[in-house]
Symmetry: C2
Subunit: 200 residues, 2 copies
């Protein structure tokens, strides 16, 4: 027999499909939604349909944006169009922007090369990156994929791909994170930190 | 500056309000929703508004139900109306129903007495329980609140409240959970299991 009313059961099922949400959590979330004031729940539902309807990828950098034109960063006259920072994910753009240091443009791959998960070059926004570089006007491409195996491999693959275009390809520096302790740094990080040491 | 497009930011904020969901998880959930096919996302949004619109509490037992009348359990002619099982939460009804053993009715308190969280008798569906018992026809009230301090206190409070009505008030048995190991049972459970021992 049906334990919850169908409308509640359906809501639980939708929550349970979310990544990292099990059936018990989904029930808790569904009960929470039931406890919301009418207009709050309506706003939540609207946020879902609105996000789905209005969010698109920027035709230039493939980052998420609203509307059809280029994203605010690509459209901004204040940003340096000669530098392109290549990241795996829109969340990485957020991390870079938070630092308030980078003033160039981006290119969002929407993933990294991963033979294990059957993600090849055609599954990422690589062709559009090559086309941007081939079109000229770009002097430096900064690889800012994650410093793990797949991120490294993706950066290496792209740097080889971009070589014919006479563009400078750089990689974010490795080293000890600011504010951390040497004793907790792993060997690979320490090796990279030594290799990358600078005169002070 | 705005890091995500506003529609995405708004969706993240809604997810972040859910219990147990932090900002990072909320971002992950929002990106998941963006990755859904159009109709899936629309169905999710609809599930929220539908649940909110159609789910009500049963006027008799206060369990969640669809529509305005009594819930299917209260309306069923097959269930024994002379026994009422008092639970704290609609989820507890689900747990009881799953056992397929109980054939009586329910009464859902929607919480337990908790002076720490300022939950008093008037915040729970206690008055309606007393009215049901006072109306007659009920022979036994089974207290099935959780076996913790607040659940115990609530059961004790209710049993005293129902005493004048000459109704049998019982409590679910305590003991070793079926399939568990004695060595992992806590002292309080073992004491209760000994107290409640039966001849075989």
């Amino acid at each position: 027999m049906q334990y919850f009313p169908p409308a509640l059961e359906s809501l639980v099922e939708h929550f349970a499909k979310l990544p990292g949400v099990g059936v018990k959590s989904a029930q808790r979330l569904a009960f929470y939604v039931l406890s919301l004031p009418e207009e709050e729940a309506a706003a939540f539902a609207r946020a879902i349909t609105d996000a789905k309807a209005h969010i698109h990828t920027c035709p230039v950098c493939q980052n998420l944006t609203e509307g059809d034109g280029p994203c605010p960063i690509c459209a901004s006259a204040k940003r340096d169009a000669s530098t392109v920072c290549v990241v795996a994910d829109p969340k990485d753009v957020v991390a870079m922007e938070r630092s308030r240091e980078y003033q160039g443009h981006y290119h969002v791959l929407h993933g990294v090369l991963s033979p294990m998960n059957r993600v090849g070059p055609d599954d990422l926004h690589i062709r559009s990156l090559v086309e941007r570089v081939a079109a000229g006007g770009i002097e430096e491409v900064i690889m800012a994929t994650n410093p793990d195996t797949e991120g490294e491999a993706t950066a290496m693959y792209l740097s080889r791909l971009l070589k014919p275009f006479q563009v400078k390809v750089t990689r974010l520096a490795y080293g000890i994170p600011v504010g951390s302790h040497l004793e907790y740094a792993d060997d690979a990080t320490l090796v990279r930190a030594l290799e990358g040491r600078r005169e002070i």
